[in-house]
Amino acid sequence: MKERLIFGYDPFVLPFLIGMIFIIAYLLVGTVRIILSLNNNEKKQLFRIFIPVNAYKIVKDIILDCLLHVKIFKRNLLLGYMHSSIAFGWFMLIVLGHIEVMLFTPQRNGIFYYPIFFRYFVMETEETLQGAFFFFVMDFFLLIILSGIALAIYKRFRSHRLGMKQTTKLRLGDNIALYSLWLIFPLRLLAESFTADISGGSFITKGINDLFHSFVSNPANTLPVWWAYSCALGLFFFTLPFSRYMHIPTEILLIVLRHVGINATSLRDGYSEAEIYSCSRCGICIDACPMSFEKKDVKFTSVYFIRLLRRREIAEQPADLCLMCNKCVEVCPVGIDSTKLKLICREINNGAISFDYTPVKYNSPLKREKLLYYGGCMTNLTPSISTAISKILDKAEISYVHLDKDQTICCGRPLLLSGNLKGARELINKNREAIISSGCTTLLLSCPICYKMFKEEYDLKGIEVVHHSVYINNLVKSKRIVLKKTTDTCVYHDPCELGRGSGIYEQPRELLSSMMLLKDSPLQNNESICCGGSLGSISMPFAKRKIITGGSLDNLLTNDPDLLVTSCPLCLKTFTPLNSKRTADIAQVVSEQMIN
């Protein structure tokens, strides 16, 4: 293989070249801006990329997430194939193009455009067999990309065929970028086919060349196609910053920032900025969000919230409405913590409200016991749960103190989620003081909202914080209580704060299975749908909550169980009025199944 053109240059490379220079400059400036907006501590943290473990993790994540899109694969094979075929295929074309230049025209090493338009500048010689391998792999990866593009086009018009009920709506910048991206590879195929009889090709490029020989081998047709290919590339690079495809370069930066331990602290610091631009608008969070049960509320889902932030528009409404059920965060293939960003929005809006908790305090001094039970506000409203707990503890002959039998001080999580940290701190301190002075070693909780709060925000050193579903399961395993079996069947609802929030999925299921047949529901464990009662939402009206409760119930009752069991007083209270079957807390079920 040798050079066909003496100067190795043709004006058609210009659109590509200018676009490339533009985008490289743009990305450099962007990266520097993000790094500058980190505070001093975070800048120091950046040096952690040189620690081998971190470097290894960063490289691994970049390959798995940015190139192979493994997380999307895990959710949806076709969608994963679509993303990874384009990303990985394109990456391989670039790498192989460079290798070709190094091998066959080393004098052109380092010229930006040369590997991209290699096929235009070279011609076959006698020893072409050396290049045959490359002809084949290049054609192979091009084919892979083209199949991905075909899927992408199909998805745009028929998203449900790829297992997605909804796909994101686009604006001008996105559309231009999208269409130019779709055009790049068919044009590359055409362009390379046109020159396949000069510079060589493999099964598709050569094939097309043979098939339409008279048309494609007409030199007058060749140059316009190469121009078109170059223009499509240039256009793509120029619209990249104004489109969702900014996620391609930004995600790499996000992975780096994440692995050195930087986190979002304001809406526009380096990390959140990187998060906002890393969203590929893949739309996976749309179907996941319970708000999308109502078509018109799709606009409040995380993808659109992030887009509002990116455009610096007011994002208060979706931030306030969100249930904070965290499902979108759980499924996001990029790992964008959108609920954290929403919380920051709320802190800006509600952080200044001054609550007054001076008169708030527990009045009776407590008896000292090893076990302290705190029901919290919600259990106060569902006394069936605390009654069941007391029955179970009595049966197991465990003495305990009920901290908030007559008066509760809220754990502070609702305040925290409303964005009022100051108020939440005050309540935390009051509860913390009472708990520590009680001298207990175990704090038993019935409400997952409290559980998460006590675990994460209370700093209760030396005190084991445990949710009743886990505690009771341990009582059964250690034979402190004995349960009988029933022929009833049940389904278990994972409360958001206990499942996704605290990672407790197994123990409640183990406990239930020891009493009755536990049926599955299509979406469970980390995919469970919020009951709709979540206190995480500040502004969701009753009518909307009801629709979500209905949708969540539909999912749970798919396999027609006799009983819906949950382990959260708020879920219990929310489901009960709308459920045609019986709803019960796991503690209630246990207390009914105990053998004396």
């Binding site: 409200i353 008169p359 409203l381 001080i409 609702p414 502004s539 009206p541």
Partner: protein, 110 residues
């Protein structure tokens, strides 16, 4: 003249022209739910905070409607946003959102 013991007592009537229910109106634009309250008192009866200080959502709404903004706000200052009142309200009123907006209106008045 014989004193019969009758005298005119001061009017208890609320002069609607002079009532400053601006806060109520302001909040009603953001959360129209506020107009649904029929003062049943379920919210106050179940309130977590009222054990410590008189916190009453029901009274606060009544007071706001009559223009007693200060008293209304002082009645919500110790709310913990725990959400019990949402769950018991027979009218399905989004109480916490109203409370937050009333308190925000107060911050703005300062």
């Amino acid at each position: 003249m014989t004193e019969f013991g009758f005298k005119l007592s001061q009017s208890n009537r609320i002069d609607l022209d002079e009532t400053d229910n601006s806060v109520f109106k302001k909040v009603a634009i953001i959360v129209p739910d506020i107009k649904l309250c029929f003062n049943c008192g379920s919210c106050s009866a179940s309130c977590t905070s009222t054990h410590f200080k008189r916190v009453s959502f029901r009274s606060a709404i009544l007071l706001l409607n009559r223009g007693h903004n200060k008293e209304a706000i002082s009645m919500l200052k110790s709310c913990m946003l725990c959400g019990k009142c949402i769950l018991v309200c027979p009218r399905g009123i989004d109480t916490r959102n109203i409370i937050i907006n009333i308190l925000k209106a107060e911050e703005e008045m300062k």
